[in-house]
Amino acid sequence: MEELILQLKQEIIRVLNLEDVTPAGIADSAPLFGEGLGLDSIDALELIVLMEKRYGIKLKDPAQGREIFTSIRVMAEYIHANRTK
């Protein structure tokens, strides 16, 4: 799980162009939206694309994303349980 969390942080930094952010600077349980990383709605769409492209997970219900993208740890746990690649 810790390896997946680190990989996920690296992917998010790359995909969302978080220039001044390092994996160590993202707390596993910090909120991704609002406070924490302060991501926006376009970032949420990029995360949905990342989930499908990198891990083979299709999110059909946008409301589902709201729960999954609570924090890096929650996201990693969901990926671990549902990934197809």
């Binding site: 969302l16 162009n17 978080l18 220039e19 001044d20 302060g38 376009i42 769409l45 990029e46 694309v49």
Partner: protein
Amino acid sequence: MPQVIRKYCHVTHRSATVNGKAFPVAEVDGEGKFLTALYRSLKIDYPKFFKMDSLSKLGFLASELILRDEEPRFAPREDVAILCFNRSASLATDALYQVTIRRGDGCYPSPSLFVYTLPNIVTGEIAIRNKFFGETSFYVCKEWDVQQALRMAGQILCDGRTRAVLAAWVECFEEACEAFMMLVDTENQPGIPPEEIAFSTSKKTTWKN
């Protein structure tokens, strides 16, 4: 009173000037990294910059160079308009977006690229950053014509609300990327004579990015 140029700036792949004088930029970390170096030199804390496409980065940085000494900064204003021109619209980002659609390993259209597939997004980025609620417009034309830009700025300044116009050429396609921006108003006579400004789009600026 006629509209006049109060201030102007020019940004290319390797230099930035304000009113013809070089703006010092810290060490550039690799080819194609000048805009990031300029961002750092301006000491801006605006992470959204890194999510912008090159066209918006250019326009954004030009506006920062022009407005950095203006007071008050970031107070909501309805009396500032933004008027931009370029030759290639958002074609560079359109092409990048198309690649995400037709990629061989699956079709994953990029939402963050899609939002920049309109050239007038740059006017929105500048307006959001500065809390400008005035008129914004973007025109696609072959060349920059300072007299035409001044005339159009003058028309906007006649609306009874607008007191200043940011008028700019912001172009980024293939190897031609540069921004020229001027702050136009009617209150700072006599202003900078347009004939003293050496900027033309007829000579292509090359940029290996």
